[in-house]
């Protein structure tokens, strides 16, 4: 069996599972996001009265942090009341940040666990050797009521990334390149394992970006086998004990793909789909109105640090906005304590409170018709960050910072 299958088998109380089988699994961490009040509605619509395993439930006030309309405020108010009444394990309020980063910061994302959150980017937790998957509100209500969720055991493919990744090219470029090569529907319903020397050389931050973006290929979950990097991160950090699963040597992947990234250059996902990927050099000098650094994909300390290294002692271009949204309170504090925050603010950055902010087009930095944004986020769908007539280019944090500096798309490698 694959490590992912072993996780499902254990959570279903079975000795083994097979591809395509439907199993009913006990969930280790159940996360709810503040934009899905339907979760609470569905909970009561099924006549549930008590949360089955409240200590496993984490409420995240991240998408509307802080509320920008009275409707959002009311949704959050109802969630807080629900948490109080049901004695849920954690309430991560509007001061904490984006769910996936908060999970990592607090050591809540652990190897061998089944992590289910009402957010499609829950694949991120594969970076820790967990089975992370996103669900909708009624699935979450089912978990709240019963502690369990049915899951189909997915086909599992392995993507091996090899070669020597050139300087100025990052995990985000690698994953955009992979998505561009395979297509947005390539991995629908599948588990995707990332392996190989390049992945082993990635930090936790880059591994999170890689697993996070696998959703944009349709993946059900992503996985990186925990190694010394994972253990070093979890040391003194993990919120509880954990058990690392390993894949049996005779496991047969549904497909094995290899990508050599030795010649890879910075990439862009161009408007308006994540799988329309091109070399950044094809879009040099395209003016940008807004550069956006943030989200569960590109708002970690390393992302802010590379931006600071590009912008130190410089000023962003006039008529260009540079929005920086740390993905969590910890990222914000670390940025403050290391001088990164000061560097970026002095360079002209607009800081937004740790949250999902404009990534999903609800508030805090939306785009007008006719505007262009280069963004370290995960989606460039029409209307994703505001007007349907705005253009969004997805890129690495370095490419975003370099574009902020020049007010147009430029090769970030010249600034590193």
């Amino acid at each position: 069996m694959h490590a992912l299958e072993k996780i499902l088998a254990e959570k279903a109380g079975k000795s083994s599972v097979t591809t395509g089988e439907i199993v009913n699994c006990t969930v280790d961490k159940a996360g709810i996001n503040d934009l899905y009040l339907q979760t609470v509605r569905s909970f009561y619509e099924i006549n549930a009265t008590r949360v089955a395993l409240p200590e496993r439930v984490i409420m995240f006030m991240d998408h509307y942090a802080p509320a920008s309309t009275s409707i959002q405020a009311d949704n959050q108010k109802q969630f807080r009341e629900f948490c109080r009444k049901q004695h849920t394990g954690w309430l991560m309020d509007v001061n904490e940040g984006v769910c996936h980063q908060v999970m990592a910061d607090k050591g809540l994302s652990l190897p061998g666990e089944l992590v289910v959150i009402t957010d499609s980017h829950t694949t991120t937790h594969g970076a820790f050797g967990a089975f992370g998957t996103g669900v909708g509100a009624t699935d979450m209500a089912t978990i709240l009521a019963t502690g369990k969720l049915w899951l189909r055991v997915p086909d599992i493919i392995r993507i091996t990334v090899e070669g020597n990744l050139p300087k100025g090219v990052y995990a985000k470029d690698v994953v955009l390149h992979i998505i561009g090569s395979l297509g947005a529907d390539y991995g629908v319903y599948m588990g995707i394992e990332f392996a190989g020397p390049v992945v082993e050389g990635f930090s936790i931050s880059e591994r999170m970006a890689l697993c996070n973006m696998s959703t944009e290929m349709g993946a059900k979950t992503a996985y990186i086998q925990p190694d010394a990097v994972t253990l070093a991160f979890l040391e003194g950090h993990a919120s509880s004990g954990y058990a690392i699963m390993t894949t049996d040597s005779d496991f047969k992947y549904a497909e094995e793909l290899r990508f050599d990234v030795s010649e890879l250059t910075p990439r862009l996902a161009v408007p308006s789909s994540v799988d329309t990927v091109a070399p950044l050099q094809e879009y040099l000098n395209r003016p940008v109105d807004q550069a956006y650094l943030g989200s569960c994909t590109g708002g970690r300390l390393e992302d802010l640090a590379v931006a600071a290294s590009i912008l130190k002692g410089r000023r962003i271009a006039p008529h260009t906005r540079f929005l920086v949204v740390p993905s969590s309170k910890k990222v914000l504090l670390d940025a403050a304590n290391t001088g990164i925050l000061q560097t970026l603010v002095e360079a002209g950055a607009t800081f937004v409170t740790p949250s999902c902010a404009a990534c999903l087009g609800t508030h805090q930095g939306l785009l007008a018709a006719g505007e262009t944004c280069i963004s370290a986020t995960n989606r460039n769908f029409p209307g994703r960050m505001g007007s349907t007539e705005a253009d969004i280019f997805l890129a690495s944090p370095a490419s975003v910072a370099a574009a902020a500096l020049e007010g147009k798309i430029v090769d970030p490698r010249a600034y590193l």
């Binding site: 339907q38 006549n47 509100a137 699935d139 629908v188 029409p382 209307g383």
Partner: protein, 171 residues
């Protein structure tokens, strides 16, 4: 409930229709179904909610509903009365959400290329055939697993859970 014959007018869409097009993010704060219904497919076709009639059928190419986990995307299509959504494939969270609320989501590969806007088609759940107005077969549905069929037949997972929770209470 899952009808044995689903008959309606076709509203065709392309591939990778994401949840932001089905239900734009700025409306996610709305929770009442009447409000949610008003914005159906607004990101892809602002006229959709006005033109779509109860029982009409969405036919799309691959990866319909990719993107966000927002159940609003399924709720809005259910609320405008979609008889079914038929596609080459679906984004997995949208697919689960749709099944959970009893919106028939059906896979029929290649159907999108064989229909035009406004065509009347019939979906026969017993034979798995999709027919045009003249009774000719346009395509075959991929079989739905018994587990999911059971949920769709019940009109979604909520009635099943209500039953399960009630029986646990009195067990």
């Amino acid at each position: 409930m899952l009808e044995q014959i689903i008959r309606g007018k076709v509203f065709p869409f392309g591939k990778n229709i994401d949840t932001d097009q089905i239900y734009p993010g700025r409306f996610v704060e709305l929770t009442d179904t009447a409000d949610v219904a008003r914005h159906a497919m607004e990101g892809a076709d602002p006229e959709f909610a006005r033109l779509f009639s109860h029982g009409d059928i969405i036919v799309a190419a691959s990866n319909f509903g990719c993107g966000s986990s927002r159940e609003h995307a399924a709720i809005t299509l259910k609320s405008v009365g979609a008889g079914a959504v038929i596609a080459d494939s679906f984004g997995r969270i949208f697919y689960r959400n749709a099944v959970n609320i009893g919106l028939p989501v059906l896979v029929c590969k290649g159907l999108r290329d064989r229909v035009n806007k406004g065509d009347i088609i019939s979906v026969r759940m017993d034979t798995g055939r999709v027919l045009n107005a003249g009774g000719e077969t346009l395509g075959l549905l991929e079989p739905v697993s018994d587990y999911l069929l059971n949920i769709l037949r019940a009109g979604g997972i909520k009635p099943l859970l209500r039953k399960q929770l009630a029986s646990e209470k009195f067990a």
